[in-house]
């Protein structure tokens, strides 16, 4: 019976909608972070930390595991004991769960895994949505239930948990990653009674009765032989045969309570449709919209939504299809290269083939929406149009332009289904300026204080600093079923003015709409600041323009750079979604609700900002014609390489969707050195160098996370035709008279983090607050400094004498990692930059998935680059979990080629000039000079070999470059090294091979939002450790140093840069495995990163991060292998932790636990000081095998 009470309406996203149900019906969660499913784990962890209970008054346990494989194992174990358990995952994570999925299904354990369907890494990683991952599970024996909207996610989560108990078949409940998992919608919440009504206590009892317990012992997991395995495998059939019917029963029970009715295959459309599309997931909503429109035009179309994909109930599918259907298009959101068709197509085809409609219905199959490619009504219409053709493409793609295999369907981009009664608004915000948060808040306000339905979807940038966010908001009287970006908006807000110059922000503006600008200029100057193209479009579309200097309003209200409240107020004032006064009242109420518990001061300042906003909002008079003389600057410099202009620039401009298939290499290969062409201009202030004060220490260069400040030393004459503002001073070097020194800033690449200024030790004696680097506004300096930068890049390389093995010398070397998209002030990138400076020209890098792979390899532009000779890091990311093994493979492969090259050289020695062969023997490739010598010998050798016509020469010609040393570095974060990749890392360290491992330790999974890892320190609050980490951080460095042949160093560049450089050099020189663990401050620590270096120093001074090196070479000399590089702690641990939010949060949320953990943490440090001292005093031993010899293979 439908309840008489109206359901509670809530505004939330797909992840929360799923977690909200799962939490209430489970007793245990085994989790691991992976985008886009992480928020589900975060929700349950937070609720458990707050001691929220499930339906039966129990607080579920949340266990974070070291990998998804681990989570699946823990899940399997929990199920064996009869605990109601679940997990959340996506993509590669789901793949890691597959072995256990077979086990769980094979043993008929009821459970639900909630999955945000996401692309699998193939030619590239994609964090975005498609069905590649879930389709790889269709053979595991899990039932598969698919939700297509936020409401469905909520409802189907309950259905899945109910049906699994009823059937004993485990369920994979999935929905589209990002499009549904991150879409905010107003939905009807199932209350506890609703959920409870779907769960039969008898089913729970039956589940518990089958549990493993010594009180009623059973055995599972036997090994079976050919005599019985097969029969036993078939024994599960009856369970699968009834599953679909049970799911339908559960759907019906839900409908009886809520009025929301679902079928296994839901048909929507014309009752006598001749053309039908079969589709699964959010795309069904889009197809349904297109179908309805076509039907309104007199056509007969329909759509079948697949709800329960496994077990596949062919009968139910056939029943759903109108008998009039003549042709069907099946749309798959996955790709199986080489398959006869994609999986959903094959399932539908086999259902039809075995029915009486076999041969009577024409079928075509298409692929859409891979990696969250937009799927719009226009594309859906193109599919129906294709079905109409007498000879449609039997296999097609839609949404792209395939000019290689010509499979794509054309579609009319202008086709739009937006209705007049739905208000649509698009907001362009600067990442982290509060725009997205304010919009989520607005949706809540509108959702909760009106009868309107609301939808929000947010598109983020690929960069972590200076990024752009685009918010798409819809409000209307009817439920909003448009899971695609807004094509036409009546309200466009640009919260960061520089976007006007870079992006086509008015692309979605509809005629007569409103444009709201945040601009730091008086109202009368606003019009003149707009580029020509924008002015023309405003006039053309007859837009009303409003402007506000939101940064000033926010600052005056004490809100710093947070303009969210200001812009939100303007939106409500202009959009008319709510009456103005009512809206203001609602905003203030929302502020009170959000910040009330965080303090009156915050509330007061936000309220002040609301009040000040309206007075500062001005309408801008739009003249009849364009007045600007300046247009938008070109996306990339005319000097850029062809590929950058043809492909990269299109992506930078936000038009990547328009690139055809032929634009890309088919194997995921991309050129280096592309960030230098993407001038992002994100710094408001940049450093200005004072040559008179500079002491030429190069420390600023060392710490710069973005390689945007560089030194040069060159003969005075080289500066003869320098631009007028180019600065230089005499080089401080007795050995190099007649040389100049310059520190140059790349003005458009600097992010304005101020670390260079912070580290600068050179002070003005008469005014010590003045340093050799002082921050100044970028805009007035931009043009001149650009010229200076261009000139700087053409200066001759530094004299070899300067390239010494120390901080200063290392920084004269060219960084081969520049202008990455890492966070402003990132604590990791300075280490990577140093790595490329020291060894970049011979570097092969294996990079674990995480921040390093994202700012290292996320398109459109990538930071690794080449030197003057065209050499540079060869970099690749394989996966998250396999990085050490991947790196070992790189080492092994390169070594094999080197060994063959050596053998061929040996073989050809009689016919080669003796001095040449001798040249290889004598070149010491550990030095710059030796490497240069070896390379010149190779060049010589290749010339000779090219002239020869024998097989060994041909082979050596191919392999000759491997005669020059290759340095393999394995790079990743703590999530990889301490957790998911630890087993592999351990194995690789134990292999004895000459690989170097660099762990950039931020003590959390930074890339996915700061989840706890085994590197997280005691007392720190992190995602998945909302109650504060209760255990000590793993001492990975100490563990690794138990292998006597492994070089280990723990470094902190901000505390002792000289030790960092020394460690890198020693690690490279060590002929066996090396491990460097580098302290990396991070935004997840909760402090202003401009103070990152001071925090690093404090970390060392308090003993939180003791510096040491474990050098097997020392042990061989009879010395203690471990050298402590930092003195005994000078300050208590609290001096460090009191400055970081990750520790202070716990003092706020649970002060007693915080105090207890702080005490234990201090005791741990005290004990470690003693232990380290002991180790550093113990004599070394060299009893184990020498480095590089354990395997007997070449090192």
């Amino acid at each position: 019976m439908i309840k008489s009470l109206a359901p509670k309406r809530v505004t939330l996203d797909g992840n929360e909608a799923a977690a909200d149900v799962a939490y209430r019906v489970c007793e245990l969660f085994a989790i691991f972070p992976i985008t886009p499913s992480s928020p589900m784990g975060e929700w349950v962890d937070e609720w458990a930390a707050k001691k929220q209970t499930n339906l039966w008054g129990h607080i579920p346990e949340v266990i974070e595991m070291q990998s998804e494989g681990g989570a699946a194992g823990a899940l399997h174990g929990a199920l064996q004991t009869g605990a109601l358990a679940s997990t959340f995952t996506a993509s590669q994570g789901l793949l890691l769960m597959i072995p256990n999925m077979y086990k769980i299904a094979g043993e008929l354990h009821p459970c639900v895994m909630h999955v945000t369907a996401r692309a699998l890494a193939t030619h590239a990683l994609s964090i975005f949505g498609d069905h590649g991952d879930v389709m790889a599970c269709r053979q595991t024996g899990f039932a598969m239930l698919c939700s297509g909207s936020v409401q469905e996610v909520h409802d189907f989560a309950a259905v899945a948990h109910s049906a699994t108990l009823a059937t004993r078949v485990p369920f994979l409940h999935f929905f589209d990653g990002f499009r549904t998992s991150h879409e905010v919608q107003k939905i009807a919440r199932l209350d506890d009674e609703d959920v409870l009504s779907l769960i039969d206590p008898a089913h729970i009892k039956a589940f518990r009765d089958k549990a493993m317990t010594p009180d009623r012992p059973i055995i599972r997991g036997t090994a079976q032989n050919p005599d019985v395995f097969f029969q036993a495998r078939e024994a599960c059939n009856p369970f699968y045969e009834v599953t679909a019917a049970k799911v339908q029963e559960t759907f019906d029970a839900l409908a009886a309570r809520t009025g929301r009715a679902y079928k296994l295959f839901d048909y929507e459309g014309h009752p006598q449709a001749d053309r039908v599309v079969v589709i699964m997931g959010s795309g069904a909503e889009t197809v349904s919209g297109a179908s309805a429109w076509l039907n309104s035009q007199g056509e007969k179309t329909g759509v079948v939504r697949v709800r329960l994909y496994r077990p596949f109930d062919a009968k139910a599918l056939l029943a759903a299809l109108p008998s009039t259907v003549k042709s069907i298009a099946v749309l798959d959101r996955t790709k199986e290269p080489g398959a006869p068709a994609e999986p959903l197509f094959l399932d539908v085809a086999s259902a039809l083939y075995e029915s009486d409609r076999a041969g009577k219905v024409k079928m075509i199959g298409g692929v859409y929406g891979l990696g969250s490619k937009e799927f719009t009504p226009a594309m859906a219409k193109a599919v129906y149009d294709e079905l109409k053709k007498s000879a449609p493409k039997t296999r097609f793609t839609v949404g792209i332009n395939d000019d290689v295999t010509h499979r794509s369907l054309p579609y009319d981009e202008r086709f739009d289904l937006e209705t007049e009664d739905t208000r649509r608004a698009v907001f362009y915000g600067l990442g982290a300026d509060g725009t997205v948060g304010a919009n989520k808040n607005s949706i809540k306000i509108i959702g909760e204080s009106t009868d309107l339905y609301a939808q929000g979807y947010f598109v983020y940038d690929s960069k972590k600093s200076g990024s752009m966010t685009v918010s798409h908001l819809r409000f209307g009287p009817q439920p909003i079923r448009s899971p695609y970006l807004i094509g036409q908006a009546g309200f466009v807000a640009v919260h960061h003015f520089p976007f006007m110059e870079r992006v086509e922000v008015l692309a979605q503006a509809r005629p007569g709409g409103t444009l709201l600008l945040n601009i730091a200029a008086p109202a009368e100057q606003v019009w003149d600041r707009l580029p020509r193209e924008v002015q023309a479009r405003i006039i053309d579309l007859k837009l009303k323009v409003y402007a506000i200097d939101a940064y000033s309003v926010a600052r005056a209200a004490g809100m710093g750079g947070q303009i969210n409240t200001v812009m939100q107020t303007c939106f409500f004032a202009l959009s008319g979604v709510l009456p103005r006064d009512e809206a203001i009242e609602a905003i203030k109420k929302a502020i009170k609700k959000t910040y009330g518990r965080k303090g009156d001061a915050v509330v007061a300042k936000n309220h002040a900002a609301v009040d000040a906003s309206l007075a500062a909002l001005h309408e801008i008079k739009v003249p009849a014609s364009v007045t600007a003389t300046k247009g938008r600057p070109p996306v990339v410099s005319p000097a850029a390489p062809d590929f950058v202009k043809r492909v990269t620039a299109v992506m930078i401009a936000g038009d990547g969707d328009k690139l055809p298939v032929s634009a890309f290499a088919p194997d995921g290969t991309w050129p280096l050195s592309t960030t230098r062409w993407e001038k992002r201009n994100i710094a408001q202030e940049i450093p200005v160098w004072d040559p008179a004060l500079c002491i030429q220490c190069n420390k600023c260069v060392m710490v710069c996370p973005h390689a945007a400040i560089r030194p040069a030393a060159y003969p005075d004459a080289a500066a003869a035709d320098a631009p007028a503002t180019f600065k230089r001073t005499k080089l401080r070097s007795a050995e190099l008279p007649g040389h100049s020194f310059t520190i140059q800033i790349a003005p458009e690449d600097c992010t304005g983090c101020t670390l260079c200024q912070k580290v600068c030790p050179a002070k003005d004696k008469t005014e010590p607050k003045r340093k050799a680097l002082m921050m100044a506004r970028q805009e007035p300096l931009r043009m001149a400094e650009n010229d200076n930068w261009e000139f700087f890049l053409k200066l001759p390389p530094p004299p070899a004498a300067l390239l010494q093995d120390n901080v200063k010398g290392s920084q004269f070397r060219q960084p081969l990692f520049e202008f990455s998209g890492a966070c402003t002030g990132c604590g990791e990138t300075a280490y990577l930059k140093l790595l490329t400076q020291l060894f970049g020209d011979r570097l092969i890098a294996a990079n674990a998935t995480g921040c390093t792979s994202i700012y290292g390899g996320n398109l459109p532009t990538t930071p690794y680059c080449t030197d003057r000779n065209g050499r540079g890091p060869a970099w690749a990311n394989s996966l998250f979990e396999d990085n050490a093994e991947f790196g070992l493979g790189l080492r092994g492969g390169a070594d094999q080629l080197a060994v063959q090259a050596q053998r061929l050289l040996q073989e050809l020695t009689p016919v080669l000039p003796a001095p040449l062969v001798e040249g290889f023997r004598t070149a010491d490739q550990a030095t710059d000079a030796g490497l240069a010598a070896a390379r010149s010998v190779v060049a010589e050798l290749k010339k000779l070999l090219a002239k020869r016509d024998d097989e060994p020469s041909r082979q050596l010609l191919q392999l000759a470059d491997y005669l020059v040393k290759k340095s393999v570095w394995i790079i990743g974060g703590d999530g990889w090294a301490y957790d998911i990749g630890y087993g592999g890392l351990d194995h690789v360290l134990a292999s004895g091979r000459n690989v170097n491992v660099l762990v950039l330790d931020t003590e959390v999974y930074s890339n996915t939002g700061g989840q706890c890892s085994k590197s997280t320190a005691m007392g720190a609050v992190a995602k998945f450790a909302a109650a504060g980490k209760g255990n000590n951080k793993k001492d990975l460095a100490l563990i690794a140093s138990t292998y006597s042949n492994v070089y280990v160093a723990r470094v902190a560049i901000g505390a002792k840069d000289s030790q960092t450089v020394q460690a890198f050099l020693e690690a490279e020189a060590h002929p066996g495995p090396s491990l460097i663990i580098a302290y990396s401050h991070c935004i997840a620590h909760g402090f202003a990163l401009a103070n990152g270096l001071e925090h690093q120093k404090l970390a060392v001074d308090t003993g939180y991060w003791p510096l040491f090196r474990h050098d097997p070479a020392r042990a061989e000399r009879g010395q203690p292998a471990i050298v402590l590089d930092s003195p005994a702690p000078k300050q208590p641990l609290s001096a460090f932790t009191s400055n970081e939010l990750r520790y202070q949060v716990l003092f706020k949320s649970s002060p007693e636990r915080a105090a207890e953990l702080a005490k234990k943490a201090q005791a741990g440090i005290d004990a470690r000081v003693v232990a380290y001292k002991h180790l550093s005093e113990a004599a070394g031993s060299s009893t184990e095998a020498k480095p590089g010899t354990t395997t007997g293979k070449p090192a």
Binding site: K50, A432, V602, I1083, A1084, L1141, V1145
Partner: protein, 330 residues
């Protein structure tokens, strides 16, 4: 012998109490101080601006990187159950009240009118027996006049006085141009007394790094004289309570402060260096001295060497300084 005294309307068993400091932050230490004989405790200061600053910084750091990147739309678990400094402080008052029998005096510090009265009300509701307002305005801009600074103290006192019923004491800085006038104004605003004086961080210059750092040293014996003069001068001109704070290290210092006119004497440095039990030593010394000098009560002692009552009133004025110099020359 009657050691009792009335301080800001509170009947105290003796004049000695620990001054505002973290000494009584935990209840165990507070109990030891009570057991040693203290007549009341003054809690560490709740810094109004710091609270507001912390609230804002906290909210800002949590939000600073939100919604910046698709994979990480936030970096901290959402925790809406924060315990903010006022809450912690209020909880601390509750714990002290439950653990101690002696009065608990709370302390509030700030420089702007801001939300003082809100905090004061929270403190009163938590059960504090009195409130010490710790004011400190350093004029560092040439357009700010002395009158404005004094006016601000008077206004804050008025605002707090009108929002709570518990006794309100004002802790002042030394070196006001016209202390008796300011004290009179505060008495008129119905303050229950003043505490003489507070001590704050002073700048220190690091000659190696050319940095300037704030620094606070514990008071020394020398700090007492400034207080003795103020007490002696004020004692005859105001009726409300006077407390001596700063420079009291020995029983003799206690005796001096009371003779000059103090109703209560606060000690910090000596407790920090010698432990809570030091209060007992001071009380014993005071008692012995009174016995030896045949004083039967604190009331009898109080202000007996005030400016008007002492044999040489000029000794408390500028002449005192001249004479000292002369003596030193000789």
């Amino acid at each position: 012998m009657d050691l009792t005294t009335t301080y800001a309307g509170l009947k105290l068993k003796n004049p000695l109490m620990p001054g505002a400091s973290p000494l009584v932050d935990n209840t165990d230490a507070a109990r030891r101080i009570e057991d040693a004989g203290a007549a009341a405790v003054v809690m560490h200061s709740l810094f109004a601006e710091q609270i507001e600053g912390n609230e804002i910084a906290f909210a800002r750091h949590v939000e600073r990187w939100q919604d910046n990147f698709a994979e990480a739309t936030s970096f901290f678990p959402a925790q809406d159950d924060y315990s903010l400094p006022p809450n912690e402080y209020v909880e601390c008052i509750g714990k002290l009240k439950a653990a101690l029998h002696i009065p608990v005096i709370a302390s509030l510090n700030g420089t702007q009118l801001g939300s003082w009265h809100t905090f004061a009300q929270q403190i009163e509701q938590a059960g504090a027996d009195a409130l010490e307002l710790n004011t400190y305005f350093l004029a560092t801009r040439r357009e700010v006049t002395g009158t404005e600074i004094e006016q601000r103290i008077v206004e804050i006192t008025r605002a707090v006085r009108s929002s709570v019923k518990i006794p309100v004491l004002v802790k002042l800085s030394p070196y006001y141009s016209a202390l008796p006038n300011l004290a009179g104004a505060l008495e008129q605003e119905r303050a229950d007394g003043i505490v003489l004086f507070n001590r704050f961080f002073q700048p220190e210059i690091d000659v190696d790094t050319l940095d300037v750092t704030p620094r606070l040293d514990l008071s020394t014996h020398e700090d007492l004289r400034l207080r003795l003069r103020a007490l002696a001068v004020l004692r005859d001109q105001v009726k409300f309570s006077l407390a001596c704070s700063g420079g009291v290290h020995t029983w003799a210092d206690v005796v001096k402060a009371i003779l000059a006119g103090a109703d209560a004497v606060q000690v910090v440095a000596t407790l920090l260096s010698r432990g809570p039990e030091r209060i007992g030593d001071l009380l014993t010394g005071l008692r012995d001295w009174m016995e030896e000098h045949e004083y039967t009560s604190i009331a009898e002692m109080r202000g007996s060497l005030s400016q008007l009552k002492c044999p040489d009133p000029e000794a408390y004025e500028r002449g005192n300084y001249l004479r000292t110099l002369q003596l030193w020359k000789e």
